[in-house]
Symmetry: C2
Subunit: 348 residues, 2 copies
Amino acid sequence: MRAKAYAVQDSKAPLELWEFDRREPLDDDVEIAIEYSGICHSDIHHARGDWGEVPYPSVPGHEIIGTVTRVGRNVSRFTEGQRVGVGVMVNSCGECSACGEGYENYCENGFTGTYGAQDPLDGSVTRGGYSNIITVTQKFVFDIPEELDPAGAAPLLCAGITMYSPLKHWKAGTGVRVGIAGLGGLGHMGVKIAAAMGAQVDVITRNPQKAEAAKTYGASEIVDSTNEAEVSNAKRRYDLIVSTVPVEHDVTPYLDMLAINGVLCLVGAINPMPAYHGTQVIAGRKSIAGSGIGSVAETEEMLRFCAEHKVLPEIEVIRFDQANKAWETMQSAEMDRRYVIDVANSFG
Amino acid sequence: MRAKAYAVQDSKAPLELWEFDRREPLDDDVEIAIEYSGICHSDIHHARGDWGEVPYPSVPGHEIIGTVTRVGRNVSRFTEGQRVGVGVMVNSCGECSACGEGYENYCENGFTGTYGAQDPLDGSVTRGGYSNIITVTQKFVFDIPEELDPAGAAPLLCAGITMYSPLKHWKAGTGVRVGIAGLGGLGHMGVKIAAAMGAQVDVITRNPQKAEAAKTYGASEIVDSTNEAEVSNAKRRYDLIVSTVPVEHDVTPYLDMLAINGVLCLVGAINPMPAYHGTQVIAGRKSIAGSGIGSVAETEEMLRFCAEHKVLPEIEVIRFDQANKAWETMQSAEMDRRYVIDVANSFG
């Protein structure tokens, strides 16, 4: 099937129209006409080669919503016209103990990323959601509950699950105090999900004025991380802090803000992290943890949770011809919302 | 009450006989004739000034077993002749939220150490168990179950509780794979306690031959941390690793040995710790945690647990005139047992 896409031809090139062939549906495949594709910071990092060698052309996008066009003969869960989603993974080895335990996201052989990976099914390079069509093996396709707005649902597949997994695992809920560090695409979803779980949730940020909006998402307080008095006041306050900070950062101030048995969970810092002092975790039985997206089962659970609790990201819907501009904006400022590309109306 | 002790007069001096006055029992005090006093690495670090300024003379010792000689008038839990213990703390502020939640060991104002601290009750410098007598407020005095050998019980008050608290908190038990890094005074207690909890427990060590003894304590396997094949074989094996390594150390090999959702808990490294990479915790939802001794309630629970499961450390009973030699030995080699001073028979 001939597909249209917005692709990057090298590490410095802008997104430009490109065409390529998607495979015909295999027995377990679901072919999807893409309606919406969220823009994730990872798209930019990947396309720019920040995370290693890239098999250009790169077609980014791993927050995908669309409708089923064709299915392979083994597929009974999905039918033509059904609204579905695809996230960060399109496959995993299925044989390692992580996959066996249902943690495809921690596949010991590395899950197959939705873009820029080698597809184990046909050997091709995977190409993501900045495209009008995608074909994915059924296990990694999600039913999208009818209650969810389709454009809004797109960012749930990456930003949503990345926040949901640690919030659920570390039991955010009634009586639990949660801090969300950083109020970008991930952080603002974290506020909404934690609040929906019943936790008391604050935002910890260097941009307190901008973060005021978070109160409408369910945040109780905004802690200005550049204000010594506010930081000191927040000492020992949180049972869980999820840090969405996507660069190397000193965890000391966050550890200080943890209550006894508190957990600091990194979700953005796929980076070298600086030294720390043993007493920072020993005094108070604290943890520096991490979490990476979520499993297939967690993603299904998250989608049902967001449908039930009416949790959706703040989004700004754009067309593909605005995508290069959107990338620039995302690199120059912390976005407290997610750009979502209206794919269906972007190609002539 | 005039007390005899073995004290260090300055950071370089050996332990030498010294006499000083213990206070007369206050209303909540328990006066204890010390029978046994375990030797902890902390004793040496403290006496040598490694952890800050020391109010010399220093009388170390925070693994104390003895019998009650006198009690203050508010004391009804303890009676003359009863066997009791004192651990690392002799008081805490009692007013902060940590104390309020029953975490005296994480007192926000700092608990009162059994030696070298300022006693809030009389303003004196606290002096520990290398002495024939000690007077401690009742909350920090533990009943020692009759089933416990008194010499063996001494190290439970520090080494025992330091291992018990994280093992219990992170749910060591049937079906849980535990690694104990380092087989010194702490590590060998960790093996025994984890095994008694029903966990499968391995030792991770640079001295595999010496660690063979751990199999008689309940260890399944000895992993030689200097052997690449063994380390690689242990990849993703443990749900919990408790690192007793008491110096700065790279946690990378331990994180590699953790299964999904695994926790590395530091209990010995009251030290600066080196940098790490965010992906080491993000990939597998892992944690770098810490834990410091245990609360009063946890210590009581641990003593009952050890009595019930017949868990006691490996000890070598010495007299005070051998204590300087013991300190030297402990500094030159990893001891897979604990020295315990037979205090009652050490003073003329």
